[in-house]
């Protein structure tokens, strides 16, 4: 039997729209977003940068436990999330999609409360169609596939968007979830943020394939690889995928090719495993700067209004951060809440001991 080779980079591109926002901030093709949407995206991207900055400082002062910055991936995260309707669709994050969670309805106070250990205030409010951040790599994918299947069974017109990283694509959960989503033809949009690294593992050691979008062929779904630093390209691909999901067209795999500019998280030192030149090259093509150039060139904001916006964003975050610092810390038995309705006897005993230990 002869084997039919599949071209490494081959993807079943179903992007019908040619929408691009280049590094120079010049758009080509049809602008896929309204002025309001572009401004919303720009604000979220700026806010994401400001959150990274603040959260890292707070971590260095031990007011935040651990933080994984978004830096460099803003267009990929924001462009995809904006294709959702938060009242209708579900968002299932991995652990580096802060602006998507906020855009989908997680209040800033709850967001900071989570990072600052004020867990009583960190929950996702009732009615917000968002799952918690997932630290276990790829474990959100089965949840998302199940959620999308539930939407289909209940005949709810809703899409589910799930994020994962290039590293997650090597996990068994990835295969199981995408395979099931394909077989069941569920309304799922899988956004793989290919930021070239899984902590210190570079993409070329993650897979011998040149594209993660090409995996879609094996799951019988459309796969699209886009420039993840291009807000318009990401949005157009995501918007197409969400529409397809809503119209009964089944799941889509979108690979956003971007670069993790920051460290993996605040416990990581990337200088140990990658060259500064590589980072500098990525910094030269900052996705938010692309949008900023576009916003200025199109006259969507004056330079002054832009400056004011940046001030407002920082002032708001700072006020939130201070108010969260005043919130109470959780009681010792918090760890036993929200898992069981009725605690099993042994767990109840552990809870009682923990409380007693804490009182001493």
């Amino acid at each position: 039997m002869t084997q039919q080779p599949i071209e490494a980079g081959a993807v079943d591109s179903t992007v019908t729209r040619d929408a691009r926002l280049g590094a120079d901030g010049v758009a080509s093709g049809d602008a896929p977003m309204s002025r309001e949407q572009v401004l919303e995206a720009y604000r979220l991207m700026l806010q994401s940068q400001a959150i990274d900055d603040l959260a890292i400082k707070l971590q260095r002062l031990k007011r935040v436990g651990l933080y994984a910055p978004v830096q460099g991936q803003e267009a990929a995260v924001v462009g995809s999330a904006l294709a959702l309707d938060p009242r209708r669709d579900w968002l299932v994050p991995a652990s580096r999609e802060q602006p998507a969670m906020i855009r989908h309805g997680l209040p800033l106070v709850n967001f900071f409360a989570g990072y600052m250990g004020r867990l009583d205030s960190a929950g996702i409010p009732e009615g917000v169609k968002l799952l918690p951040r997932q630290q276990a790599i790829a474990a959100q994918l089965p949840h998302a596939a199940g959620l999308a299947w539930a939407m289909k069974l209940r005949k709810e017109r809703a899409a589910v968007m799930v994020y994962c990283g290039d590293g997650a694509s090597s996990e068994g959960d990835f295969h199981e979830s995408l395979n099931l989503a394909g077989v069941m033809h569920v309304p799922l949009v899988v956004v793989v943020i290919n930021n070239q690294y899984a902590i210190s593992t570079p993409f070329h050691k993650q897979t011998a394939a040149q594209s993660l979008a090409s995996r879609a062929i094996g799951y019988g779904m459309p796969g699209i690889a886009v420039d993840g630093n291009d807000l318009f390209a990401v949005y157009a691909a995501s918007d197409d995928a969400v529409r397809r999901a809503l119209d009964g067209g089944g799941p889509t795999l979108i690979e956003c090719r971007t670069y993790r500019v920051g460290f993996h998280n605040t416990s990581d030192n990337p200088n140990d495993y990658r060259e500064q030149e590589e980072v500098s090259a990525a910094l030269a093509d900052d996705p938010t700067t692309r949008v900023e150039r576009y916003v200025l060139a199109q006259g969507l904001l004056s330079p002054g209004a832009m400056a004011q916006l940046k001030v407002e964003i920082r002032a708001e975050l700072d006020a939130v951060q201070r108010s969260v610092a005043d919130l109470p810390r959780p009681e010792a038995d918090f760890i036993f809440q929200n898992v069981y309705d009725v605690l099993p006897a042994r767990t109840e005993q552990q809870r009682a001991e923990t409380v007693k230990e804490d009182r001493r």
Binding site: D53, N269, A325
Partner: protein, 376 residues
Amino acid sequence: MSRYTVTMPQLGESVTEGTISRWLVSAGDRVAEFDAMVEINTDKVDAEVPAPVTGVLTEILAPEGAVVPVGADIAVMEVESSAGVETGSAVAVEEPVAAMPQGDVPDQRATPEAVAATAPTPASTGLERPTPPAPTASSPRPSLDGDEVVLLTPSRRLIAERMAVSKATIPHAWQVQEVDMSGVAASLAAHRGSVRRQHGASLSFLAYMVAAAAQALRKSPEVNATFADDRIIVHRAINIGIAVGLPEGVVVPVIKHADQLSVAELAVALSDLTTRARARQLVASDVSGGTFTVNNSGALGTLLSYSVIAPGQSAVVTMGSVVDRPVAVDGKAEIRPMMYLSLSLDHRVMDGLQASAFLGACREWLEGVTAMSPVS
């Protein structure tokens, strides 16, 4: 006015101490909350730590190069308002809540408050590398065409400081003996496969060397010691540091109680530590507590090397390359795998007599190994 003591933050879960690599402000400077204040270098991360409150830095307690445990005091600040220091709320008005990137000019629509709030410094993203200091006027050499200025990384700086301290304070002396490694080579050939199968580790000359040094230290405890001004502290624990060369600088993970481990167990410990060192996954406890060091410069072909003693220790033994050389055996020339074994010693702690006894004990242990000797 109130005093605020700045402490060493815990920069990662397993991090127990940090090195002050650079103060970015001086005593007397005014700093705003979140302004970059000090660069701290730990075994996990190198971080710029911001000021915890707004105020004046009155005193630096931990100088550059100091290794400070988490939670210990590193500086004192004077805070203008005593209220709200804990939560920082009282300092809100003073802190530049944000700043515009340089070049952006606010237009008339910006409120006066917002403009005032943007002064005085551009915000740092916290992700940028600190700006390198300009080469000082007192650079020892005039620069030549094509010169490149390479700034010290925190780990390079730490090595530089430790080496300078060692050479400046420890009167080094040096001795060399020559070891016939035939028996070790035979043992290695006999046991390499089984150690790999049973323990998943690769047996090497280094494992035998660590075993030899650990046993020799038992016989010569004075070599396993710390010189402390008016006394010598002889350590009972034999914790052997292993120098592992990495591109950014040498690291020295420690095998604790090495004298209680078999050659095979030492091979396992060596594999674990060197693997984690190369993966940059050593934690502070892996690199602390060493009482003596073994350096394997022979792995790269070096025959003899005059190693520098780690501050706090009294000696370092260095293996040269194992090379086939003709030697006289019973009046006849024979080709044997030979190795130079050299010892750098602190002459305050010991004299040539003890050093020779130690090296001799290492040599006897190594030459006593045969293919039949147990390794597990």
